[in-house]
Amino acid sequence: MKKKIYSISLNLVLILLGIITVYPFVWMLSSSFKQNKEIMALEQHLLPQAFIIKNYITMNERFDFMRFFGNSLFITIVVTILVVYTSTICGYVLSKYEFKGKNVLFGFVLSTMMIPWCVTIIPKYSMIQAFGWMDSYKALIIPAMFSGFGIFMMKQHISTLPNEILEAARSDGANEFYIFHKIVFPMARNGISSIAIFQFLWSWEDYLWPYLVINTKEKQLLSVGLKMFNGQYSTDYGALFAATTISIVPVLLIYLFFQKQFIAGIASSAVKG
């Protein structure tokens, strides 16, 4: 009996917290079907009094939203795949190989995580200009190819994989490239999922960098696009909320899809840190 009360009250607390968490989303979703006038009206109702889908239409017509969406998806996927690959291979080398200066290198990678964006962004911007990469996707992809956080996570994760399997493969005459791609990579999939989810989220949300380096509208990304109607300067809340509603869908799907591996991956990378 006591257990039951305990269980019910715990469930209630979690549900209450869940409501607090979800409420702003419901509000946003509902506002995306309202006119701006109603969003700002004195008399507030959660549900739209005059249901309109105009926001979803103007958002696309005036801001070419689906194009931004496609660009973002492309860049985010490319960067995520690259980062997953580089993190895994660096993680493998740093965790399973012994060589001079390894700890210095790893310590250095760790410390890169601590450098605020603001320190490097200004010179990076000038460098991209000097390289002639402005307004090209090179500027978004190449400086993002390695991630200190990713390498750190994968090093932790891969060091939990048993050495015996690698040794067995080695004594079978397999070379290191084969071992990495065919054995380590699949075995590290939990860690890979967690890196993938983090990286996907970061790339998807990154605002300042694409804003600075991409100029052509056709190439622009969603996070910057969001700012166009919402940003500092505009008041088209309806379209902003419509756009946001759509923009969170892919990240949420990725998470739901990889949730199990994500959690297992974090468990093996971070806990043992």
């Binding site: 701006n36 700002m40 402005m134 052509t216």
Partner: protein
């Protein structure tokens, strides 16, 4: 902040034109039949539609703008009807993107021959501009405010319209408070009395504010009313700010008194004055021209009227600050034939009264073209009508760096919300602006005001 206003103005202009577009579907046939003028038209600047451009050979130029496509399309349609050999490609970018991209495009080889200008970006654009072919005397004869745009004896662009602040009041609340047309205040003292009558309280709690300036007091009061008392925003050298003057502090004190002595509003009631007016919670606000369009689109339920900004003694040095909406810029690096077309296009644009009226109405700006000061269409817009009488008594300080507005906003907030005393807050604002403007090439043009002392 300027940017914010501009964008709001543009967005509302866009929505108006698109609304108009919906309702005029049936008129489309008439619209496609454009009257091609055959006679020379214009005041001093004349445009002769019978002179061919580019020797009648085909030529294509780009025109870059932000905001309202339809407005520009109709301008282009009118021009290309006269010159069918010219094709003008309209390129629209959202406001914020526009200013990142335009300088880059102008720096490259294929920049647009023609582009919209906003004076807040003057410094980024001036090096790419070709001077106008039109003699300065002709420009001066037809337009006001040309002098402020003369650089080393050349003019690169001028203002087609002037935007400034007026008082918007809610007519229903006005009536409910027993007020009539005769009660429209001329002075700040009268304004206070009216505001008191328009305020409704439930105990200590404000239910309806008589006057609301939350969120924009720096723009609509602090940077403007100083002129009524004969004090400029910049000192005589044109570069040192003058925001900690006694006048400025006096105005701040008046704002504080409105809320704290008269209780006609509250810093906590209606986060933004403009929204609060639209929500029907505040009876009066001072807003710039763009608000007229906002009221007609977003807040169409509000029954509002407009009157001129009150003064201290009925005899101000200037009524208020204004800011100009600029004419097109011509790219000096564009091929010669394109530049020639662009020059011709600007002349057409300046000489054509219908175009000038359409642009001013879309932005709710008062025409800079002198012959349009009494134009019927313009005077139908109440926010412009009230400006007509004293329009030469408005002053432009030049394209001020953003820090002036931002620092005054911060100073005002320190006073209203954080209990800092006015002297400290405004001295700090003065110091911040001085520091931020150390490298600015800005020089005030307040000395070019017609009635400058």
């Amino acid at each position: 902040m300027k940017k914010k206003i501009m964008l709001i103005a543009m967005v509302s202009a866009l929505s108006i034109t698109s609304l108009a577009g919906c309702s005029s579907e049936s008129n489309k046939k008439e619209q496609t039949k454009i009257d091609v003028p055959t006679e020379v038209f214009g005041d001093t600047i004349k445009y002769d539609p019978n002179v061919e451009v580019n020797n009648g050979e085909k030529v294509t130029i780009e025109l870059w703008e932000w905001g309202s496509d339809e407005l520009f399309e109709s301008l282009i349609a009118g021009y290309t009807a006269i010159h069918p050999n010219v094709t003008i490609k309209l390129v629209n970018n959202p406001w914020e993107d526009y200013w990142t991209k335009l300088p880059l495009a102008l720096d490259g080889e294929n920049g647009p021959a023609l582009f919209n200008i906003h004076n807040s970006y003057h410094e980024n654009l001036i090096n790419y501009l070709a001077p106008l072919d039109i003699p300065i005397e002709d420009l001066q004869a037809d337009f006001t405010g040309v002098d402020a745009h003369i650089i080393d004896g050349k003019v690169y662009y001028i203002d087609y319209g002037m935007m400034t602040g007026t008082v918007y009041y809610n007519k229903d609340m006005w009536e409910a408070a027993g007020l009539t047309e005769a009660d429209i205040p001329k002075t700040w003292d009268e304004m206070r009395e009216v505001a008191k009558k328009l305020t409704i309280k439930n105990g200590d709690q404000i239910v309806q504010a008589g006057l609301n300036f939350n969120g924009d007091f720096h723009q609509n009061y602090l940077l403007g009313l100083n002129y009524q008392l004969g004090e400029n925003i910049f000192k005589e050298d044109g570069t040192t700010p003058n925001v900690n003057s006694d006048t400025m502090k006096q105005i701040m004190q008046m704002l504080v008194d409105f809320y704290e002595v008269d209780g006609v509003g509250s810093k906590d009631f209606g986060e933004k004055g403009a929204d609060s007016f639209g929500q029907g919670q505040s009876a009066m606000v001072i807003q710039w021209g763009h608000f007229y369009n906002t009221l007609n689109t977003t807040w169409s339920d509000i029954n509002f009227g407009v009157f001129e900004i009150p003064t201290f003694d009925g005899n101000p040095y200037a009524y208020n600050r204004y800011n100009g909406e600029s004419t097109f810029g011509i790219n000096k690096n564009a091929p010669k034939d394109q530049q020639a077309v662009a020059q011709d296009f600007v002349k057409y644009y300046l000489a054509n009264d219908n175009v000038q009226v359409a642009f001013n109405l879309a932005m709710s700006t008062f025409p800079a073209k002198k012959s349009l000061a009494n134009n019927e269409e313009i005077l139908k817009n109440p926010s412009l009508r009230v400006l007509a009488e004293h329009i030469d008594r408005y002053i432009w300080p030049g394209p001020m760096p953003e820090t002036v507005e931002n620092s005054l906003k911060r100073a005002g907030e320190e006073v209203f919300y954080n209990g800092v005393d006015i002297d400290t807050a405004f001295d700090e604002a003065q110091a911040t602006i001085e520091k931020d403007m150390k490298n600015s090439s800005f020089v005030s043009v307040e000395n070019l005001y017609k009635y400058a002392k």
